[in-house]
Amino acid sequence: MRTTLITLKRTMTAALNAVLIVAVGLLVLDVVWGVFTRYIMGEQAKWTEELARFLLVWVALLGSAVAFGTKAHLGVDFFIHKLHPDMHKVMGVAAHLITLFFAGAIFLYGGSRFVIDALNMEQMTPALGWKMGYVYLALPIAGVFMVLYTLENLAETLAARPHDANAPEEVA
C-alpha cells in the first residue's frame, strides 16, 4: 500500500514537474518573442501577451498542487509547536482535512462549474480566439492533484508515530 502510494506520488510529481519546466521555459520564450517582434519585425505579435498570462495561470495552479506535495506553502507553525506532541497529530490531521475541503470545494467543484459555465457561454479569448473554458481547465485539474497530494499527506500523518507527526515544515 505504502509503496504504491510512493510510486504514485513520484510519477505524479514527475509528470507535473515536466509540465512546469516546459511552461516556465515557454513563458520566457513567449515574452522575449513579443519584444523581438516589436523591434525586429516592426509589429508586435498580438498573441504573446495573452498566451503568457494563460501560461502563468497554468504554472501557478499546477505548481500550487506540487507545492502541496512538497509542503512548500507558507504557514505559521509557531503556535502549534507550543502544543504537546500528542496534540500535534490531531491538529495535523485537522489541517489536512481542512486543506482537503479547500481543494475539493474551490478547485474541483467550483473550478468545474466555472469551466462548464465558460464553455457554455462560448466566451472567447480576444487575441488567440480560444475558448476561455480551456484556460480555466487548470482549476479542476490542479484540484485533482491537490486532493491526491493532500490525501497522501493525511495518510502520512495518520501513519506517523505521535511525536513526529506534523514535523516542522520548511518555510520557503
Binding site: 500550487s64 505559521v76 479547500f102 474551490i106 478547485f107
Partner: protein
Amino acid sequence: MGMVALVLVTVFLLLLVMHVPIAVSIALASFFAIVAAGMDPTLVLAGRMANGINSFALLAIPFFILSGHLMGRGGMARRLIDFAGALVGFLPGGLAYVNTLTCMLFGSISGSAAAAVSSVGGFMIPEMNRKGYSREFNVSVTTTAATTGLLIPPSNVMIVYSVAAGSVSIAAMFMAGVLPGILTGLFIMLVCGGFAFQKKYRREPRASLREILVSFKRAFLSLFLIVIVIGGILGGIFTATEAAAIAVVYALLLSVGLYREIPLKELPALLSRTGVTTAVVMLLIGASSGMSWIMTMANIPQTVSAALLGLSDNPVVILLTINLLLLFVGTFMDMTPAILIFTPIFLPVVTALGMHPVHFGIVLIANLCIGLCTPPVGTCLFIGCGVGQTTIARVTRTILPFFAAMIVALMVITYLPIVSLWLPVKTHQLKQAEVEKAAFMQTKATTTEEQ
C-alpha cells in the same frame, strides 16, 4: 456587514493558528464570509483563483525568481562581492560594509531578499566568521541588508503591490524605491560602523585603483543587468515584465554561456523550482484576490478606514498608527500576504489623507521589510540563521540596533514623501501635478481602467 467581517477575521485567525497554509486560510475565511453574505462561494472563489493571477504584470515575478536562481548559482554574486570589497573593504569592519553593499547590489538585481540572503550570505557569512566577526553580527547584517533589495528596483513585492493597489505604475514604484532603499542601506552601514568601532573590527588591505578597476571590470557584466532592466523600462524600450524576461535571458547567457558555472543539464531543475516558488506566491495572490472581493462587497475597507480616520484628524497620528499596525502584522506574517491583505484596507485611508499611492507602497514595503527579519515568522531571518548556523534566540539581541536603523529609515520615508516621489517625477514616471495634488493632505487619488 459587521457579521461578515467577524466571520472573515475569526476563521482566518483560527486557521492561521492551526498551521493551515496561509493561502488556504485566506481562501477558506473568504469562503465562509461569502456564505455568510448569502452568495455562492465556490464559483466566486474559483473565478478569483484563476483571474487574480491572470495578469501580465505578475509575470515579472517568475522571471525575477528565475534570474535570481541563475545569478546565485552562476557566479554573479561572487563577482559583486569582489567589487564591493575593493570599494569599501579598507574601512574598519570593512567586510560588514562589503556585505551590505553586495546585498544592496545583488538584491537590487535579483528582486528578491531571500535570494540575496542565501547567495550573498552563503559566501559572506562564513568568510566573516573566519575573519573574527561575531556570528550573530554577521547574520544580523546580512538579514537586514538583504531587505533593501526589495526597495531598490527591480522588486517582486512592488509588482504585487502595484497589482493589489489597482493601476499603480510598476515603473513609478521602481523609481520611487531607489532612494529609500539606498537610505535604509546607509542607516544599516551606520550601525555596522558603531559595532566596528566598539568591537574594534579589522579592516581589509586597501585596494589600489588598479584593483578596483579590475574587480569592476569583472563585475561589470553583472552590474550591467541593472542598466538593462532599469534603463530599458525608463527608456520606454520595454515594460517591467519584458525587462524581467530579458534579465533571465541575460543571466542565462552569462552564467551558462560566458562563466560556464551552471551546466545545461541543471536548467530543468531550476525551471521547475521557479515554477513551484512562483506558484506559492500566486496561490496567495489568487486567494487574496478572493478575500479582497468579499471585503469590498461587505464594505470592510470603508469601515476600517472610517474607524482609523475617526481616531484623529491628524495625518501624522494616523500614519503612525498604520505603521505600528503593520509592524505588528509583519512579526507574524510574510510580506506578500501582508501586502495583499492590507493594501485594499489601508490604501483608501491614506489616499483620503492625500498620500500618493506610490508613496504608500514604498512605506508599506519598507515597513514589512522589518517584518522579514523579526521572529516568529521572518523569512530572511530564518534563511540567515540557517546559512550562519546560529539560532534566532542568539541573534535577537544583536539585530535590535539594526531594527532601530530600519525604523528610523521608515519614519523618514513615511514623513518625507519627497524621498520616494522625487525620482519618479524626474524620470517622468509620475506626473508632477499628480504628486502636487497628493502633497499629503488633499483630495484622494483614483484608479481607472479606461481604454
